[in-house]
C-alpha cells in the first residue's frame, strides 16, 4: 500500500474506522480535536454513529454502553478531559467492557497549556479511578505507530475485555507524516458476544454488565480473577518495546513517544562522537517491559521524558538499582531538542567515550 500523508489525529480516526470501530463518543479539547471532527464526517458514511457528548463524563459512559453492546467503540480526549473520564474508565474495567481511549497529552497540571507533553504517564498507567486494576497502555512515537497502535488496541480490548489506552502527545496528534494505513495487525481470540454482550442474551440466560459486587468475598474473587486471568496474561503476551543501537551499548536512553524520536537523533549524534549509547523504547507503558532492563552491560539508563519524571519509577523498578537510573526532562509543553538530550548524555557518561 502506498503511503499517504496525514495528520496524526486524523490518522488515528481513520485507523479506528479501518479497525471496524463504528461508534465514537467524544468532547472537543485541544490538541485532539481532529479526531472527533474527522469522525463526525466519516463515521455516518461508514454506517456508524458519531455523538458529540455533552462532556467527557458523558462520552466515556456512552462508550461504556456501546462497548457493553458488543460494538467496537472509541473515545479520545486530552489531559483534563481524561481526568474527567476516570470514574467511567473504572466502570469499563469492572464491567469488562472493551473500548479504546485515546489520550493526546498536553502540558499540566490543571488547565495548563495545550502544547504537547508526557505528563499524563501516571494518569494512564496508574489510573486514578478506584480499586485494583490495570489498563494496557500503548505509546506510539509517530503517526504510523499511532495508526498501528489504535488498530492493535481494538484487538487487545476485545481479546481481554478491557479498556485500552493509546497515549500520545499533542505533537503526534497535530503533525503530518507519511503513513501506511492498511498495515495488518495481529488478531486475537475473542469470546462470542452471545456469552457476554448486552443485546445478545436470552430470556433464560440474560447478559448483564455488572459493576456492583456487593459481597466482599465475591469482590475479592473478582479482583483475583482479573489479576490472574487478565493482567498476568497481558503481561505475558502484550508487552512491547524496541531497541535501537543496543547491541554494544554501555549506556541506554529510555524514552517513549515523541521523546523517543528526539532521543534517537541524539543517539545518532553521540554515536558519531563514539559513545556506546542506544535507546530502549517502551511501546507499551503497561505492561512495562522488563527484559531490556536486565541488560547487565548497561552502566546507566538515561530516562528522558516530556515531564518532571514519571516513567523513571517504572525504569527504576525494572532495573532494580536506582543508582543506575538518571533522568532528563522538559515539561509544561516544552519539547526537548536532540542537542540538549545529547549534551545531557555526555554529562552523564563523563569520559565514557
Amino acid at each position: 500500500m502506498a503511503k499517504i500523508i496525514m495528520k496524526g489525529n486524523e490518522a488515528v480516526a481513520k485507523a479506528a474506522i479501518i479497525a471496524g470501530c463504528r461508534y465514537f463518543f467524544g468532547y472537543p479539547i485541544t490538541p485532539q480535536n481532529e479526531v472527533p471532527e474527522y469522525l463526525s464526517r466519516e463515521l455516518f458514511a461508514a454506517g456508524g454513529t458519531f455523538v458529540q457528548a455533552e462532556s467527557e463524563v458523558a462520552a466515556i459512559n456512552m462508550v461504556y454502553g456501546a462497548g457493553s453492546a458488543g460494538a467496537r467503540v472509541m473515545t479520545s480526549s486530552s489531559s483534563p478531559g481524561i481526568a474527567l473520564k476516570q470514574e467511567g474508565i473504572g466502570y469499563c474495567v469492572a464491567g469488562e467492557v472493551p473500548c479504546v481511549i485515546v489520550s493526546m497529552m498536553r502540558g499540566g497540571p490543571g488547565l495548563g497549556t495545550i502544547q504537547p507533553s508526557q505528563g499524563d504517564y501516571n494518569q494512564a498507567t496508574r489510573g486514578g479511578a478506584n480499586g485494583d486494576y490495570h489498563i494496557p497502555v500503548l505509546a506510539p512515537g509517530s503517526v504510523q505507530e499511532a495508526v498501528d497502535d489504535v488498530k492493535e488496541a481494538f484487538e487487545i480490548a476485545d481479546c481481554y475485555r478491557t479498556p485500552v489506552i493509546v497515549v500520545a502527545d499533542g505533537l503526534i496528534g497535530q503533525m503530518m507524516e507519511p503513513v501506511e494505513l492498511e498495515k495488518p495487525v495481529k488478531t486475537r481470540n475473542t469470546a462470542p458476544k452471545s456469552t457476554w454482550a448486552i443485546g445478545y442474551g436470552t430470556r433464560e440466560k440474560p447478559n448483564t454488565i455488572e459493576n456492583l459486587v456487593i459481597d466482599a468475598p465475591a469482590c475479592e474473587q473478582k479482583n483475583i480473577r482479573f489479576f490472574k486471568e487478565k493482567y498476568a496474561v497481558i503481561e505475558q503476551n502484550e508487552v512491547k518495546y524496541e531497541e535501537y543501537m543496543m547491541d554494544d551499548s554501555e549506556y541506554a536512553f529510555v524514552a517513549y513517544g515523541t521523546t523517543s524520536r528526539i532521543v534517537r537523533n541524539a543517539v545518532n549524534e553521540l554515536r558519531e562522537k563514539g559513545y556506546k549509547i542506544g535507546l530502549i523504547k517502551p511501546r507499551t507503558l503497561w505492561p512495562f517491559p522488563q527484559v531490556p532492563f536486565q541488560n547487565k552491560k548497561i552502566k546507566k539508563f538515561l530516562v528522558a521524558e516530556m515531564s518532571m519524571g514519571q516513567m523513571v519509577y517504572d525504569v527504576q523498578l525494572a532495573v532494580g538499582d536506582k543508582e543506575k537510573v538518571t533522568f532528563y526532562g522538559r515539561c509544561g509543553g516544552i519539547i526537548p531538542t536532540p542537542e540538549e538530550c545529547a549534551e545531557y548524555a555526555e554529562k552523564v557518561m563523563g569520559g565514557g567515550q
Binding site: 461508534y23 455533552e54 459512559n61 461504556y64 448486552i198 440474560p206
Partner: protein, 249 residues
C-alpha cells in the same frame, strides 16, 4: 373455567427483591414488566440500572441489563441504543441519580431526542445511601443532610424535572404519575406503556416520572408513606402529561 386475572408478569425473575417492605420500587418494576410483555418486547429489551436502591435490577428482570455509573444511565443508554437501534432501551433512575449528579446527562439525552425511555423514580430522598436530601426532597421534609427539614434558603429549591425537560425540543412524551393508590397505578402503567410504544415507533425521548415512596428513610410505615405521596408529593409535583408530540394542542 377459572382464569388468572392477576399474576406476576413474565420478564421478572423469581428472585426475592431486596427492597424494604412496601417500597414503591417493586410496584414500578412490575409495571415495566407488564408493559414490556404487553408490547411484545420481552426478548428485545435492555434495561439500564442506576446507582441507587435499584442497582440490583439485573437480578429482577430477565432482560439484558447493565449497571450504570451514578447518574450516567442516559449516556450509557445512548451508547447502547446507537448500537441496538431496534431494541427497547430503558433507563431506570432515582431522583438522586437523575436529578442531582445526572442532570446534564438526562437533559442532553432529552435534547438529543435519544430514542430511549426513562423511568424516573421520585421518592424525594437518597434511599440507597440512607436518607440524604435529594433535589426533589420537599420543603420542610427531613433528610440526614437536612435534619431539621429542608430549608429553601439553606438547601435550595426542589426541582420539578418534568417541567424542566418539557421546555426542550427533543422529548416526545413526558408524564408524571404516582403509585400511591391502585387508581394511580393504573394510570402509571398507561403512561409507561405509552412511552415505550413511542420509543418503539421511534418518536424520540420519553420519560415517565413516578412519585414513589421510601418508607425506610421517610421513617413512615409503608401505608403512611403512600399517604404522604398522595397528600404532600402530588400537590408539589402535579400529575399529568407535560409533553406529547402526538397531542396537537
Amino acid at each position: 373455567m377459572p382464569t388468572t386475572v392477576f399474576k406476576k408478569p413474565n420478564g421478572l425473575t423469581d428472585k426475592r427483591m431486596h427492597y424494604c417492605p412496601g417500597c414503591g420500587h417493586g410496584i414500578i418494576h412490575r409495571l415495566i414488566a407488564e408493559c414490556i410483555e404487553e408490547i411484545n418486547e420481552i426478548d428485545n429489551t435492555i434495561i439500564c440500572a442506576p446507582v441507587g436502591c435499584a442497582v440490583f435490577i439485573p437480578n429482577y428482570f430477565t432482560y439484558d441489563s447493565i449497571q450504570c455509573a451514578h447518574g450516567r444511565a442516559p449516556a450509557t443508554a445512548t451508547g447502547i441504543k446507537r448500537v441496538h437501534s431496534n431494541k427497547i432501551v430503558i433507563t431506570y433512575q432515582g431522583d438522586g441519580d437523575l436529578a442531582s449528579i445526572g442532570m446534564a446527562e438526562i437533559i442532553h439525552a432529552a435534547a438529543r431526542g435519544e430514542k430511549i425511555t426513562t423511568v424516573f423514580i421520585n421518592n424525594g430522598i437518597y434511599g440507597m445511601t440512607g436518607g440524604q436530601m435529594a433535589p426533589t426532597t420537599l420543603p420542610g421534609m427531613k433528610a440526614t443532610t437536612a435534619q431539621t427539614g429542608r430549608d429553601l434558603e439553606r438547601n435550595g429549591n426542589p426541582i420539578r424535572v418534568c417541567e424542566l425537560l418539557s421546555t426542550l425540543d427533543g422529548p416526545a412524551y413526558i408524564e408524571r404519575v404516582a403509585v400511591d393508590t391502585p387508581a394511580h397505578i393504573i394510570k402509571a402503567k398507561k403512561a409507561i406503556k405509552k412511552a415505550l410504544q413511542y420509543q418503539k415507533a421511534g418518536k424520540g425521548f420519553t420519560m415517565v416520572e413516578v412519585l414513589s415512596s421510601c418508607p425506610t428513610n421517610w421513617g413512615l410505615s409503608a401505608a403512611k408513606a403512600m399517604e404522604f405521596v398522595g397528600e404532600k408529593m402530588i400537590p408539589y409535583y402535579p400529575l399529568g402529561i407535560f409533553k406529547d408530540v402526538e397531542e396537537v394542542e
